[in-house]
C-alpha cells in the first residue's frame, strides 16, 4: 500500500513536471555557430530568480515556484529569447546583427543610430583593412563626405585633414581625435590600424558641441577593438609587399644630349637678343658657354667629347652626331672621365614592406580581454627613409558587480623612423648631365673606404663646381648621414561605471599618454662642407597628456518617452619638454654618432611648455516612440591659451530628427523603407593657436654675458575663443528593400571672431600679432550613396559613392583691418594671398600672365590710371589681381566591391574637382638658366617656347637670364582637379569545409595595391603634395608618393 501510494504520487508528479520542477538547467548556444555562450543571463520570467551561464554555456536555476513557466535569456549582441521551462534546455540565441549596426559611437557614449540628430560617418574595420595604411586615420581618405585629406608621403608627418571646409584662417583646422572616449594627442603612426574596430567622424555642432573647446573642426572618434563575451579567437595576419616610386613623372629632359641642346638654345637666344650678335657669333658663344664655370654662365661640366675643332651643338641646334658620351678631363695631374648618371635612379629603391599582427580575444560573462601584437617594417622608397614599429595593446573590461563595471586599456609602441630625404630634392636641382660618381680615366667608378666615390661638385677632385648643391651630394648623404627619430609611447586608459538608483550611471575616466622621442641628427665628417669635422645633435622631446572626465548619466524610458541626460566635467593637460644639444667634430662616425663621440660643444637648449583646458557640460536627449528625437547640449570651457580675463567660452547645440517612415500614414508599400529628416544648430569654440599669444614674449639672451630680454613676439591680451556656429540639415533614406541607402546633408558653418595673424608694417618692430578678426562662412552639400546592386548568396556587388560640395567665403572683416585693395575688394593680404569680404579664403593675389609679346618676351597685365588693361614685360611693373583660390569645388570618393564564391575584389577611387594650385615644380623646370643658377632640370616644353618661327606659342622665349618670366604669376596656377585610384584589393576566403579540416575558423589570402595611379591637369603635377588647401605643390622637403603592392594572409582560430 505504501508502495502504491508512492507510485501514484510519482506518476502525478511526472505528469505535472513543467509546473512543479524545483530546478532547471541547460546550455545557451549561439545560433548557427553552435558555440556555447559564456555569461548569458538566464532569468525566470516574472521572478527575481536569475543566473548566468558558465564557461561551457551551462546554467542551473534552483528554487522554482510552481507559477514559474518561462525563462528569459539575454546576451549582449543577441536577440533576447523567452523559452518554456523544461528539463535540460538547449537554448539558441540569434545574433542581433541589425541592432549592432544601429549603434553609433557618439560624444561620451553610444547611441542608437536612428535617434542621432547630428551628422556622422562611420568607417569600420573592414574598410580600414582594405586601405594599406600605416595609421588608421589615413583610411578615412575618400571614404567620408565632407572630410578632405592630404596624406603625407613622409613617415615622419601626419596627414592634413579638414572637415567641412577650412574653418579658420590661422587657428588650427585639425579635427579633434578621440580614442575610446579620451582626447588623443599623440602621433597617428602610434595607432595600429589592426587594433581599430571603427572610426566615427562627427561633423556638425549637435554631434560634437560636447567637445566644445576643440570640436569646432570636427571630431574623429576612434574605437579600438574589444573582445566579445563568450567567444575566444586568435587571429594572425601577415602582409608582405614592395614599395615603388608612385610619382607620375613630368616631361623633363632626361637625355644629356637634349639637355645641352636646351642649354645651348637658351644661351644662343641670349647672345642673339641681348648681345645683338649675329647668328654665327651667337652659335659659337653659346657652344663655348656650355662648358664654362657656372659663375660665367656655363654648366661647369661637359660630359661629351667632340672631335677637335668641332662644336657640341650644330648650327641646326642638334647634338653633333660625332659627339660621344664620356669626356676625359685632367685636374691636379690626374685624368678623370665625366659621365652623367641618373641620380634619382641611384637614390631611390623598391623597398620591402612587411607587417604582422596577432590578436587574441576572449571573454567570459564578467571579463573580456583583447590583446594584440603588431610589427611593421616599411623600407619606403629611399635609403634611410623607413619606419619600423612594434605595437602592443591590451584592453580589458570587468563587470565586478552587477552595478559596477571597470575596465581599461594599455598600449605600448616603439617606433624607429629614418628620415633621410636628400634624394627627393634632386628632382628639381640636378640636370641629367651631372656625374654622380668620380670615374677614372678608363671610365671606371673610383672607390674609397666608403665605397664608390661621389662627386660633390665642389671642385675638390674634378676641379669642377656645380651651381646647384655644390659641396653636397644628396645621394651619398642619404647613405651616410643620420636623421632618426626613436619614439616610445605609452597610453593607459581606465574607467569605472557605477549604476545606481534607477537609470543613473556615473563614470570616471582617466587617461595618460606619454611619448618619448629621441631625435638624432648628424652629418658625416667625410665629405662636403663638414669634411674633417662632422656634426651630431641629439634632442629629446617628451609629451605628457593627462585627461580626466566625470560623467553622470541618467536614462529612463517611460512608456513611449525616453530621456537621457548627461552632466559632465573634463580636464585636459598637455605638457611638453624639450632638451637639445649638439657637438661638432665627430671622431668615430661609423660606430659612434652620439654626443660623446664628438669633441666640440656647439649649441644646447631646453624648455617646457603646457596647455590645459577645462570644461563643464550638460546634454539632454529625448525620444518619443522612436519617431521623434530631440537633443540639446551646453558646455563651458576655459583655455590656458587665453588671458585669464578672456578665458571662458560658452558653447551649445540643439537638434531634432523625425523618422517619417515610422508614421502610420506613411505608405508601407512604397519603395521607401526608411526616411529620416534631421536638423541641428550649435556653436563651438576653437583655441587651436600657439600658447602664450596673449602676452608679449621676450627671448632670454646673453649680451656679452649680461642677461638680455630681446623682444620676440607681440601679444594681444584680448584674444579669445574663435566661435563656429554650424547649421546642419539632412535626409537619410533606405530604398528598394534597403538595397540603396544614403543621405544628403546641407550645412552652413559660420566662423566668428576668427583668430588670425594680423600683419603690421615691419617698421613697427614686429611682423604682427593674433587677433579675433572677421567672419567666414562655409556652405556645403554632402551626398553619400551605397547600393547593393547584386545581392545573392553566391554573388554580391556593391557600389558606394560620396560627394562633397563646398563653398567658402570671408563674410566680414572690420574696417580697420581692411588695409589693402585688389580688384575692387578691400581686405587684408598675406604674401601672395588676399582676404576680402565675399572672397574665398586664401584667394590668390598675383600678377597675371599676359602671354608673350612680338619678341617672345613674357608680359604681365597692368591697369592704367584710366582703368585700361595694358601689358608690361617687367614683373615689377605688373599689377596684382585676384586669381581664384586653391579650394576645390567638389571632392570625394567612390568604391566598388564584388564577392563571388569566396573571391572578393574591391577598388577605391578619390577625386577632387576645382581649385587652382601653384605648380612650383613645373615653374622650376621652366625657369631659364640665369646668372649663377645653372644646371637645373629643364622641362621639354622649353623646346615649344616662342621663336620667330613658332610665334603661336604662349611660352616665353627660352633665353638665358630671363628668369623673371617664371616669377610668381598666374602662369603656373594649375587646375588642381585630380582623380586617384587609391587601392585595389583582391581576396579569397576559403570555404568552411576547408578551414574546418585545418581547425581554423577562417582563412583568407589577399593581395592589395595602394596608390596605383592619379590623373591631373599636367603630367607630373600632383596637387596632393604640399598641404591641403595649401597653395603650392612644393617639391623640396617632401617625399614622393609611394605605390605599394603586397599580398598576405589572415588566419583565425
Amino acid at each position: 500500500m505504501r508502495m502504491k501510494l508512492l507510485m501514484a504520487l510519482l506518476i502525478l508528479l511526472t505528469a505535472n513536471a513543467s509546473a512543479q520542477l524545483k530546478s532547471v538547467s541547460g546550455t545557451v548556444y549561439s545560433a548557427g555557430e553552435d558555440e556555447p555562450l559564456i555569461g548569458a543571463t538566464v532569468k525566470v520570467k516574472g521572478s527575481k530568480l536569475a543566473t548566468s551561464t558558465d564557461i561551457d554555456g551551462r546554467f542551473k536555476l534552483q528554487g522554482l515556484q510552481p507559477s514559474d513557466k518561462y525563462l528569459e535569456v539575454t546576451y549582449v549582441g543577441y536577440r533576447p529569447a523567452t523559452v518554456e521551462i523544461k528539463p535540460d534546455l538547449k537554448i539558441y540565441l540569434d545574433i542581433e546583427t541589425e541592432m549592432l549596426d544601429e549603434m553609433i559611437v557618439v560624444a561620451f557614449g553610444k547611441q542608437k543610430r536612428e535617434s542621432f540628430t547630428g551628422s556622422a560617418s562611420v568607417v569600420d574595420a573592414d574598410q580600414i583593412a582594405r586601405a594599406q595604411v600605416t595609421n588608421p586615420i589615413d583610411a578615412l581618405n575618400g571614404t567620408v563626405t565632407g572630410l578632405n585629406m592630404v596624406e603625407s608621403n613622409s613617415f615622419g608627418t601626419d596627414a592634413t585633414i579638414t572637415i567641412r571646409g577650412i574653418g579658420s584662417l590661422n587657428a588650427g583646422t585639425d579635427p579633434l581625435i578621440v580614442l575610446d572616449g579620451m582626447p588623443y594627442n599623440g602621433y597617428w603612426n602610434d595607432l595600429n590600424p589592426a587594433d581599430i574596430a571603427s572610426m566615427t567622424v562627427l561633423k556638425d555642432a549637435a554631434s560634437n558641441a560636447l567637445y566644445g573647446a576643440r570640436g569646432a573642426n570636427g571630431v574623429i572618434l576612434i574605437t579600438s577593438k574589444s573582445a566579445k563575451r563568450g567567444k575566444t579567437s586568435v587571429n594572425f595576419t601577415a602582409k608582405w609587399g614592395a614599395n615603388h616610386d608612385g610619382r607620375i613623372k613630368y616631361d623633363v629632359i632626361d637625355n644629356p644630349g637634349q639637355y645641352y641642346e636646351a642649354y645651348y638654345l637658351a644661351q644662343k637666344n641670349y647672345f642673339l637678343n641681348s648681345k645683338k650678335q649675329t647668328d654665327a657669333q651667337a652659335h659659337l658663344n653659346a657652344n663655348a658657354a656650355l662648358g664654362m664655370p657656372y659663375t660665367s654662365g656655363g654648366l661647369g661640366y661637359m660630359v661629351y667629347s667632340v672631335p677637335e675643332g668641332q662644336q657640341l651643338i650644330g648650327t641646326n641646334g642638334k647634338l653633333n652626331p660625332n659627339a660621344t658620351l664620356g669626356n676625359r678631363i685632367s685636374n691636379n695631374g690626374e685624368i678623370y672621365t665625366l659621365y652623367p648618371d641618373n641620380w634619382l635612379k641611384a637614390g631611390l629603391r623598391d623597398g620591402f614592406r612587411q607587417e604582422y599582427n596577432l590578436t587574441v580575444s576572449s571573454g567570459s560573462d564578467k571579463y573580456t580581454m583583447y590583446g594584440s601584437l603588431g610589427y611593421l617594417k616599411d623600407n619606403g622608397i629611399a635609403y634611410n627613409n623607413d619606419i619600423e614599429r612594434y605595437t602592443a595593446r591590451l584592453k580589458s573590461d570587468a563587470q565586478i558587480y552587477p552595478f559596477l563595471k571597470v575596465g581599461g586599456s594599455a598600449s605600448f609602441n616603439h617606433t624607429t623612423t629614418n628620415l633621410e630625404s636628400g634624394v627627393f630634392d634632386v628632382l628639381t636641382t640636378i640636370a641629367p648631365i651631372f656625374p654622380l660618381y668620380i670615374r677614372d680615366q678608363y671610365g671606371n667608378i673610383m672607390t674609397d673606404s666608403n665605397g664608390k666615390v661621389y662627386d660633390y661638385g665642389d671642385g675638390n677632385i674634378l676641379g669642377l663646381v656645380r651651381a646647384q648643391d655644390a659641396s653636397a651630394n644628396n645621394i651619398q648623404a642619404d647613405l651616410l648621414d643620420l636623421n632618426r627619430n626613436t619614439s616610445n609611447s605609452f597610453n593607459i586608459q581606465g574607467y569605472a561605471t557605477l549604476d545606481f538608483l534607477d537609470g543613473f550611471h556615473f563614470t570616471v575616466n582617466g587617461s595618460a599618454y606619454i611619448t618619448e622621442n629621441r631625435m638624432e641628427f648628424g652629418y658625416n665628417p667625410y665629405y662636403g662642407f663638414l669634411e674633417g669635422r662632422g656634426y651630431v645633435e641629439t634632442s629629446h622631446y617628451r609629451t605628457h597628456d593627462f585627461n580626466t572626465q566625470q560623467l553622470l548619466n541618467y536614462s529612463k524610458t517611460f512608456g513611449a518617452h525616453s530621456v537621457d541626460a548627461l552632466l559632465g566635467h573634463e580636464y585636459t593637460m598637455n605638457g611638453q619638454t624639450y632638451l637639445f644639444a649638439s657637438r661638432n667634430n665627430v671622431v668615430l662616425w661609423e660606430s659612434n654618432k652620439e654626443l660623446s663621440g664628438a669633441i666640440s660643444d656647439a649649441d644646447m637648449d631646453g624648455y617646457t611648455t603646457a596647455y590645459n583646458v577645462e570644461g563643464w557640460f550638460l546634454r539632454a536627449q529625448y525620444d518619443y516612440d522612436s519617431k521623434y528625437f530631440a537633443s540639446a547640449s551646453f558646455r563651458r570651457d576655459g583655455s590656458s591659451r587665453f588671458h585669464p580675463k578672456h578665458r571662458w567660452g560658452n558653447f551649445w547645440s540643439a537638434g531634432a530628427a523625425w523618422i517619417m517612415s515610422k508614421e502610420e500614414w506613411f505608405p508601407t508599400t512604397s519603395f521607401v523603407n526608411m526616411l529620416k529628416i534631421k536638423a541641428s544648430y550649435g556653436e563651438q569654440g576653437n583655441d587651436n593657436i600657439g600658447n602664450f599669444l596673449y602676452t608679449n614674449t621676450y627671448s632670454i639672451s646673453s649680451s656679452n654675458g649680461e642677461p638680455a630680454f630681446v623682444f620676440n613676439s607681440k601679444g594681444n591680451e584680448s584674444i579669445t575663443w574663435e566661435t563656429v556656429g554650424s547649421f546642419n540639415a539632412g535626409v537619410e533614406f533606405e530604398l528598394f528593400n534597403s538595397r540603396l541607402s544614403g543621405g544628403v546633408e546641407f550645412y552652413v558653418r559660420n566662423t566668428r571672431d576668427m583668430l588670425m595673424y594680423f600683419s603690421t608694417p615691419l617698421s613697427l618692430g614686429y611682423t604682427g600679432y593674433y587677433d579675433n578678426v572677421g567672419d567666414m562662412r562655409n556652405t556645403g552639400v554632402e551626398v553619400s550613396l551605397n547600393a547593393d546592386v547584386v545581392s545573392s548568396e553566391a554573388f554580391t556587388w556593391n557600389v558606394g559613392l560620396n560627394l562633397s560640395w563646398e563653398r567658402n567665403r570671408v563674410t566680414y572683416l572690420p574696417e580697420d583691418k581692411k588695409i589693402a585693395t585688389c580688384d575692387g575688394y578691400n581686405g587684408y593680404l598675406s604674401g601672395y594671398l588676399f582676404y576680402g569680404e565675399g572672397l574665398p579664403v586664401n584667394t590668390w593675389r598675383l600678377p597675371k600672365y599676359a602671354g608673350v609679346n612680338d619678341e617672345g618676351v613674357a608680359m604681365f597685365y597692368k591697369t592704367g590710371s584710366d582703368g585700361e588693361l595694358t601689358t608690361t614685360t617687367s614683373i615689377d611693373g605688373a599689377d596684382y589681381y585676384l586669381c581664384g583660390s586653391a579650394l576645390p569645388d567638389v571632392f570625394g570618393g567612390f568604391n566598388t566591391s564584388f564577392k563571388i564564391y569566396g573571391v572578393d575584389l574591391s577598388a577605391q577611387f578619390n577625386y577632387s574637382i576645382g581649385g587652382r594650385k601653384y605648380d612650383t615644380v613645373y615653374a622650376s623646370f621652366m625657369t631659364p638658366p640665369y646668372e649663377t643658377m645653372t644646371g637645373m632640370p629643364i622641362h621639354k616644353d622649353a623646346f615649344n617656347a616662342w621663336t620667330p618661327e613658332n610665334t603661336s606659342s604662349n611660352i616665353p622665349r627660352w633665353q638665358y637670364g630671363e628668369y623673371t618670366s617664371t616669377n610668381m604669376s598666374d602662369r603656373f596656377l594649375t587646375d588642381a582637379s585630380y582623380l586617384g585610384l587609391r587601392n585595389i584589393t583582391l581576396g579569397y576566403t576559403f570555404p568552411e569545409s576547408v578551414t574546418r579540416r585545418l581547425h581554423m575558423s577562417n582563412l583568407r589570402v589577399f593581395c592589395q595595391a595602394e596608390n596605383i595611379y592619379y590623373w591631373t591637369k599636367r603630367k607630373g603635377f600632383d596637387p596632393r603634395m604640399g598641404s591641403l588647401y595649401g597653395n603650392y605643390n612644393s617639391s623640396s622637403g617632401y617625399s614622393f608618393p609611394m605605390r605599394t603592392i603586397s599580398g598576405g594572409l589572415s588566419v583565425e582560430f
Binding site: 664655370p293 659663375t295 559596477l404 665642389d458 675638390n460 663646381v465 557605477l498 545606481f500 556615473f506 674633417g532 669635422r533 656634426y535 566625470q550 553622470l552 552632466l567 566635467h569 580636464y571 593637460m573 624639450y578 661638432n584 667634430n585 666640440s600 660643444d601 649649441d603 624648455y607 603646457a610 590645459n612 583646458v613 576655459g638 590656458s640 602664450f692 608679449n696 614674449t697 621676450y698 627671448s699 632670454i700 639672451s701 649680451s703 656679452n704 649680461e706 642677461p707 630680454f709 623682444f711 601679444g715 600683419s759 603690421t760 608694417p761 615691419l762 617698421s763 613697427l764 618692430g765 614686429y766 611682423t767 580697420d816 588695409i819 589693402a820 615689377d876 646668372e931 649663377t932 637670364g961
Partner: protein, 581 residues
C-alpha cells in the same frame, strides 16, 4: 539589492566631490621665453642689453645672414674696395653682380626688418625708463638713443634714393616723388595705426630727429658712468655719432645748396617736433663735426698700434683701446654655437678652416688692386694684404706676413695677391667654429674721428689746416718713417687724401660705403689690371650714386604701410652693363 544600497552613499558622496572639483585650470608660464609680465618685474637693464644683443640676431636659412655684421660686408662689397677672389661660395654676389636686388628678395627684407626691429628694442627701453626722474636710467637712455640714432642715420643713407644717371630709375623716382625722402620714423610713441600710414620723411626731418636723439644722449651721457662693455655706447660714442652726422649734413649742403635751402625753409615747421639744426651754412656743420670728433678723441681712446693690428690671435677680433663701440659675439650666441661657415669669421678670415674664405672655397676677400697701389712701403698697414710681388714668396712670407697670420707658409702660398689678413678667428682658433666665431667687431674706432676731424677742419678752415691734422695722424700712428704728405691738389685733392686713408684704415669694417655715397665718389671695379671677378665689374661715374648702393623697401613694408613709396629695383639687367676691356 542590499549590496547596492551599501554603495549608494559613498558613490553619491564621490559624485558630489567630483563635481565640486575646484577649477583645475592652471596658469602656465612659458620657459622658452619670458613674458611681458616677467620682464616688467625685472630691472630695465635686460631691455638695454637686448638692444646690443639684437645685433647678432640671424636667420640660418639665409647663408648671408649673420646679423648686422653681415650688413657691413654687404656695404663694403657694394664699393670697389673689397673684391672677392671667387664668387662660387660668396653669399654677397647679389650686390656685387647687381642682380636680385628688387624688393621681393629676402636680403632686402632682412636689412629693413633688422634695423626697425633694432629700433623697436631701443624704443622699448625709452618707454620703460624715465631719466628725468631717475638719473640712474641715464645709461640705458644713452644706449637706446645712440643705437637708435645710428640706426636711423644708416637707414637714411642707405634708403634715400639719389640720382644715379640711369634714366629709367631717375625718372621713375621723380615720377613717384621719392626724391629727398628717407625712411619712416618710428619712435617709442608711434601707434600701430600711425605705423600703417607712416611716410618716408624728408632728409632734413630725419637729420633733426637723429640730432634730437644725440642731443639728449649728450645731455644724459655727460654725467653718466661709461658702461664696462663697449657694446654699450658712452658719451664718447654720442660725440662720435654727432661728428658723423654733422659731416654728413655739411657735405650734403656743400654739394647741394638747394638741400640747405630746403632744410632752412622747413626749419620752423610746426609739424617737425625735433630740435632745429641751428645752422645756416655748410661750414657751420663742419665746425660742429670737427668739434665733436675732437671731443670723442679726448675721451681717452688711442689708435690701434702696429702690434695690435697684426696680432693673429686678437687682431680685429677683440676690443682694444681704439674701439669706441663694439659688437660682441659671445660663445653662447647661435652665430658661434650653431652656425659654422655662416659667420663673420668664415666670410672674412682666410684662416678659419670651417669657413669659405679658404683656398678650397675661394670666397676670400681682397683689397682693390688700385687702392693697394696707393699704399707705400712706409705704411705699416700694407702687409695686411699680400702684395702682388710677394704672393707665394716664402721669403716675403717670413719677413712680412708671418707675424700677421697663423697660417703656415704652405697654407699661405696658395692665396692670391691682395688677399686680406685683417680679421682673425677669436683666440686665433682656426678649427673650432664655436670658439673662433665668437669675435668682437668694431662699430666705431677713434681713427675715424681723427679722419673726420681732419676733413671737417680742412673744409671749415682751409685745406692746409686739414692737411696738418691728416699728416700728423698718419705719420704719428701709421707710417714707420713719418714720410706721409697729403699732396692732393686743392681742397678736393685733400678730401680725396682723407678718403683714401679712410679706405685703407677702415677696410672691411662696413663704413666706407657711407663716404662713397656722401662724397659721391666714383665706384670702379672694372679697369685694366682689375682684381674684381668678371661678373662684378660694374663702374659708376662720380657725382652720382651707383644704383646698387641704394636699397629697396621690402614688400612687407609697402603692403602694410600705405604711405611708403618704394625705390626702383636697381638690378642691372636691361639697365646698365658690366665693364669690358
Amino acid at each position: 539589492m542590499k549590496a547596492i544600497h551599501r554603495y549608494i552613499k559613498p558613490a553619491l558622496a564621490g559624485l558630489v566631490a567630483a563635481f565640486m572639483f575646484p577649477g583645475c585650470l592652471q596658469e602656465i608660464e612659458p620657459t622658452s621665453n619670458a613674458t611681458q609680465e616677467e620682464v616688467d618685474k625685472g630691472d630695465k637693464t635686460g631691455l638695454m642689453t637686448a638692444v646690443a644683443a639684437y645685433l647678432n640676431t640671424y636667420n640660418s636659412s639665409y647663408s648671408y645672414d649673420i646679423g648686422f655684421m653681415g650688413f657691413n660686408i654687404w656695404r663694403d662689397a657694394s664699393t670697389s674696395d673689397m673684391p672677392v677672389y671667387s664668387t662660387a661660395y660668396d653669399y654677397f654676389t647679389y650686390v656685387e653682380m647687381c642682380t636680385y636686388l628688387g624688393s621681393e628678395w629676402a636680403m632686402q627684407y632682412t636689412i629693413w626688418q633688422r634695423y626697425y626691429f633694432l629700433i623697436q628694442k631701443a624704443n622699448l627701453v625709452l618707454n620703460a625708463i624715465d631719466v628725468e626722474t631717475y638719473p640712474e636710467d641715464a645709461v640705458p637712455a644713452v644706449t637706446a638713443l645712440a643705437y637708435r640714432a645710428n640706426a636711423y642715420m644708416e637707414l637714411a643713407q642707405w634708403y634715400e634714393y639719389k640720382k644715379t644717371g640711369v634714366a629709367a630709375f631717375d625718372s621713375q623716382a621723380e615720377a613717384d616723388g621719392i626724391m629727398g625722402l628717407t625712411v619712416p620714423i618710428v619712435t617709442e610713441s608711434t601707434t600701430e595705426e600711425d605705423s600703417r600710414h607712416n611716410p618716408r620723411v624728408p632728409f632734413y626731418t630725419i637729420y633733426r630727429f637723429i640730432l634730437t636723439d644725440l642731443n639728449k644722449g649728450e645731455k644724459y651721457g655727460a654725467g653718466a658712468t661709461q658702461p664696462d662693455s663697449k657694446t654699450y655706447p658712452g658719451i664718447g660714442v654720442v660725440y662720435g655719432l654727432q661728428a658723423r652726422l654733422w659731416q654728413l649734413i655739411g657735405t650734403r649742403f656743400e654739394l647741394h645748396p638747394e638741400d640747405l635751402a630746403a632744410a632752412l625753409s622747413h626749419e620752423n615747421d610746426a609739424d617737425i617736433p625735433y630740435d632745429a639744426l641751428g645752422v645756416t651754412t655748410s661750414r657751420e656743420c663742419f665746425v660742429k663735426a670737427a668739434e665733436y670728433a675732437r671731443k670723442a678723441i679726448n675721451c681717452g681712446y688711442t689708435p690701434v698700434t702696429e702690434t695690435q693690428w697684426f696680432d693673429p690671435t686678437t687682431g680685429f677680433n677683440s676690443v682694444n683701446n681704439s674701439w669706441m663701440w663694439a659688437n660682441i659675439i659671445t660663445t653662447n650666441n647661435g652665430l658661434a654655437t650653431t652656425l659654422t661657415w655662416q659667420s663673420w669669421v668664415s666670410f672674412m678670415s682666410p684662416e678659419a678652416t670651417y669657413g669659405v674664405a679658404t683656398t678650397g672655397y675661394g670666397a676670400y676677400r681682397m683689397i682693390d688692386a688700385r687702392l693697394f697701389g696707393t699704399i707705400p712701403d712706409s705704411d705699416w698697414r700694407k702687409p695686411t694684404w699680400i702684395a702682388p710681388e710677394d704672393a707665394s714668396d716664402q721669403q716675403a712670407f717670413n719677413s712680412k706676413y708671418a707675424r700677421g697670420t697663423s697660417l703656415s707658409y704652405s697654407e699661405w702660398k696658395d692665396f692670391a695677391p691682395y688677399t686680406a689678413f685683417k680679421f682673425h678667428p677669436a683666440n686665433g682658433d682656426r678649427n673650432t667654429s664655436t670658439i673662433g666665431n665668437a669675435v668682437s667687431m668694431p662699430l666705431m674706432r677713434v681713427e675715424e674721428m681723427y679722419l673726420i676731424e681732419a676733413e671737417a677742419v680742412g673744409r671749415s678752415q682751409g685745406d692746409a689746416a686739414g692737411r696738418a691734422l691728416l699728416e700728423s695722424f698718419v705719420n704719428t700712428y701709421r707710417y714707420t718713417d713719418a714720410s706721409y704728405k697729403s699732396t692732393g691738389a686743392g681742397l678736393d685733392g685733400f678730401i680725396d687724401d682723407v678718403f683714401n686713408q679712410k679706405r685703407i684704415e677702415l677696410w672691411g669694417e662696413g663704413q666706407i660705403l657711407w663716404d662713397f655715397k656722401r662724397l659721391e665718389k666714383a665706384i670702379e671695379k672694372g679697369y685694366p689690371g682689375t682684381n674684381h671677378s668678371d661678373l662684378t665689374r660694374f663702374n659708376w661715374a662720380p657725382n652720382l650714386n651707383a644704383p646698387w648702393t641704394t636699397l629697396t623697401i621690402p614688400k612687407a613694408e609697402v603692403d602694410f604701410n600705405d604711405a611708403v613709396l618704394p625705390n626702383p629695383d636697381p638690378s642691372h639687367t636691361g639697365y646698365y652693363d658690366l665693364w669690358s676691356e
